[in-house]
Amino acid sequence: MEEKQLLDGCLAGKRSAQKQLYERYAPNMFGVCLRYAAHRDMAEDMLQEGFIRVFTKLDSYRSEGSLEGWIRRIMVNTALEMLRKTDVLKYSVDIEMVQEYDSAQTDGFGKLSTAELLRNIQEMPAGFRAVFNLFAIEGYSHREIADMLQIAEGTSKSQYARSRAWLQKRIKPQLE
């Protein structure tokens, strides 16, 4: 079914159209949620709530950008909101956990599989995970991240640097 037909069906409340739209985008969006969540159950909750919002807000989609991009933004915002509700978006990592950043060590990241990279991202402290995902993978600027998370731009930058140092520390033993 064409995207326009699918959208019209969803706006008319047709369950079959909603299911088709869900099946088209759910695997990709589940991949997004898995990066923000600490575990699979949380990612499933994010995906479920995200799609409920997609269907209830679909009338505000203006076809200016891609539908996938619009759905992705809803997923990311839903994930951040759920992390905020569970109060895990606190940047309270002990400074002792963060070692000095060494750029040469990041070359080793490329030796790990996507599944191994994902596991390391999921095990990051929530505040690091959110900033790392938004900056390194989603491509938001630190200014945008600051607005989204209601933090200072400098905090976003330092959280990102710390998240890389944290990853470096975690990944190093896995490469030996």
Binding site: Q18, A26, P27, Q48, F55, T56, Y101, F109
Partner: protein
């Protein structure tokens, strides 16, 4: 941290996750349907309540 280090990490993780997909379990779709039905019922009850008290 300089820009080229930033770019290296972004390139690597961006590429690793650009096509990353995983099929969610069926329960998620069932949860979406029940969530939509619950919202529909809430809207209906709100309309009834408004109509009843106006």
């Amino acid at each position: 941290m300089n820009n080229s280090d930033n770019d290296k990490t972004k390139d690597l993780f961006g590429a690793a996750f650009s096509n990353f997909e995983e099929t969610p379990p069926n329960e998620v779709w069932e949860g979406v349907v029940s969530g939509l039905q619950r919202r529909k019922r809430m809207i209906l009850w709100r309309r009834i309540a408004v109509a009843a008290y106006l």
